[in-house]
Structure formats: structure tokens, C-alpha cells
Symmetry: C2
Subunit: 219 residues, 2 copies
């Protein structure tokens, strides 16, 4: 049995996105935009290759992703979110906010850490809090990789190759980046703990961070 067989909006939504890895695939495509198979596999440590292929097929059948056949420079196919898939942003935002308390313990030794996750975290929790006409670029570097979150009043974009300069760049352990962006740490506190903040830190304090909810369950 795959479907819940319940005429309920939650159950029907979970019939589509409730399977393992599906929402994380959407997370990667939302963060990095059109991606190749290998890019997705890199962004989803732990997924089996057959499962990724399976999920992409069913997600395509469900109208969440599209597979296109090369934009020109590269000869390989790329996967993109459809409009329906991009609507999952609200679901991912809700999950992201709810997950904040579970991040306080920091990564365990066998946890993967990737900077685009922190960038998407910033993008999802901070989007919509910027004044009209503003545009904030946050650089995030954890573990050698560098990505940029470009935030505006009505949307965001996460990119690896930035044109222009970032307003502020954060370098250090992911837990400090997340703690700072979620409002659990102040800029000075994060700096004392080892975070490097280059550029204009004031653009961070201007943003309304994710409100921490309740202390959270067992870490």
C-alpha cells in the first residue's frame, strides 16, 4: 500500500511528497536550481543511486520536476522544478522553521554538512522580511565550499557563482552560521565562538530572524 486512501488534504499531499528523499530532492532543486543527476547525488549524501533515479521518475510523473535535454554547453540532461514543485517552498519553509530547535546540538561526527543547506535556510527563513527594493547577498562558506544566498523582498536565489560582491560573508562551522541566521546567536557571540564575519554585519541584524519556537525534543 502506497497511498493512505484518505480523502484529506494532508494525506493526499503526503501521498505525493511523503516518500523518503522526495522533499530533500525538492530542497536541492530549490536551492541550486536546474541540476544534473550527479549534482543531486552530491547534494544528497546517503541516497542510493537507484532510489534517486526512481524518485526523479515518480516526481516527474507527479508533475513536480521536469527533465530537459541540455541547455547547450553541456550535453547532458538537467532536472528542474515545475511551478507545482516550486510551491513546495512553503512546506520546506515550515519544516525548516520547525527543525530549528533540532539544530542546536550541532552536527554529529557522521553528519554531512553542505553550505547550500545553510544558504537555503537563510533564504527560506529570511525571505519576505526585507523592505521593498532591498537586495541582500550573504556568502556562506563551510568546509571549503562557498555559496551565496541572494535575498529580496519577494524571493531568493542560491548560487555558487556570484556576479558582484556579497554584502556579508560568513565563514566557519555550520552550527554557528545557522545559529547566527536563526537568531539564536548574536554576531558578537558567533564571532567569539569562531565565526568569521566579513563585510557589513549590519545587514544581518536588520533581518528578522526565524523565531525559535519551543526548546525541542531529544537531540
Amino acid at each position: 500500500m502506497k497511498t493512505y486512501h484518505q480523502y484529506c488534504s494532508v494525506a493526499r499531499a503526503l501521498d505525493v511528497v511523503g516518500d523518503r528523499w522526495v522533499l530533500l530532492i525538492a530542497r536541492e532543486l530549490l536551492a541550486l536550481g536546474p541540476s544534473r543527476y550527479t549534482d543531486l547525488k552530491r547534494g544528497l549524501p546517503g541516497i542510493a543511486s537507484n532510489l534517486l533515479a526512481d524518485r526523479l521518475r515518480t516526481m516527474e510523473a507527479d508533475g513536480l520536476v521536469e527533465r530537459r535535454d541540455a541547455p547547450a554547453p553541456i550535453g547532458t540532461g538537467v532536472y528542474t522544478l515545475t511551478a507545482r514543485g516550486r510551491d513546495l517552498e512553503d512546506v520546506l519553509r515550515a519544516l525548516t522553521r520547525w527543525g530549528v530547535p533540532t539544530m542546536q546540538s550541532g552536527p554529529s561526527p557522521d553528519d554531512a554538512v553542505q553550505p547550500q543547506w545553510s544558504a537555503l535556510f537563510a533564504a527560506l527563513t529570511l525571505t519576505g522580511t526585507l523592505p521593498e527594493g532591498a537586495r541582500t547577498v550573504i556568502g556562506i562558506e563551510t568546509g571549503g565550499d562557498l555559496v551565496h544566498a541572494v535575498l529580496g523582498p519577494h524571493g531568493f536565489e542560491v548560487t555558487r557563482d556570484l556576479v558582484g560582491d556579497a554584502d556579508v560573508t560568513l565563514r566557519g562551522p555550520a552550527v554557528l552560521v545557522g545559529g547566527l541566521l536563526s537568531g539564536l546567536l548574536s554576531v558578537t557571540a558567533a564571532r567569539k565562538l569562531g565565526l568569521t564575519v566579513a563585510g557589513r554585519p549590519d545587514v544581518l541584524t536588520d533581518l528578522v530572524p526565524a523565531v525559535p519556537t519551543h526548546p525541542g525534543g531529544t537531540p
Copy 2:
């Protein structure tokens, strides 16, 4: 392997609520409040009894539910959402809204239909759109069962035993109830299709319904 082993807020959230049935258990507890084991089993058609017991145990260990030992009249234990569990309301709301397009096809022959799902649908999508001081009670009857959704500006409650009168009562197929509440159907259109609207229909048109997103994938 249970956890994703990714230091990402979405992945960590799904480590807790990503398992099958967990979010639907939260849905039932959010809709009906403190419930007994049998009540939950009734509200979750298709779940195996051992799975429900397993899920309740892990959800208790994760700090999502609490098991109390009888309020007085009944001698059996009841399950309640903790504050942390109630915070899942935002996740359920996002899933509910995203699932709206999947509801247009109506229930398939082997789909279960329960009125508290429609009531929670109304509560989740309409809450927060009421003016200060307002209080709207919507009765929903599908398949013989009747529940009430009590909506206020800052919260909601779904109850079986209502004290007082409902502002408006909807009787008929669940698809018409959902269509009306989600804004896909007007009151007159729903009536023509067979929905009975008793009381003051104007309280419905005053509410801002869930905005339908994109047409949605395969039904």
C-alpha cells in the same frame, strides 16, 4: 538507516516527522484534542495497530505527544500533543494548502472520508483571517458524522460536542465541503451540486479562503 545524517534543518525535521503516519497522528491530535488509542485508530483508517503503538512511543520519546492517565470519568489513558507537537500546525497548514489541488478529483471509491478532516482543513486554512474579536462556528456533516470547527482570529478548535449553536452548517459530500471552504466553489455553485448550507452563509464569504496554487499534478 533511519536518520538522514545531514546537518540540515529540513532533514533533521524529517528525521522526526518523516516516518509514515507520524504527521497524520499529529493531524488527528490537533483536530480532536486529547484522544484515546481507539479514537486515534478510528481517525487513521488503514494503520496497523502495532504501528500506531510504535509511533506513539517514538513520538512520546521525541517530545511530540504526552500520555496521561485519565482525566477522571474514563479510566483509560489519553494522548495529547505537547507544545512542540502543536508547533507542527504550521507544517500541517503548508501541506494542507499544497494538497488542495489534489482534492479536486474527489474521493476514490476506497478512500476514507471523515468530517474532522474537513473541519481541520477549514481551521488551518481560514485561521488568522478573522477580524479581532470575531468567532465563527462552522458545522460540518459528511457521512452522518457531525463536527464543529470553532474559528477565532488567533486559533481554532475542532470539537464533536458543541455548546451553543453553529453560525453555519454544511451537509453533503466532502468534496463539496472542501471545494467551498477552499474557494474553488461558490456557495451557490456548491448548493446546486448538492451541498446543504444551513444558517448564515455570509460568514463563509467573509472568510479569505485558501488561495489555489497551480493546477496540480496527476489526480
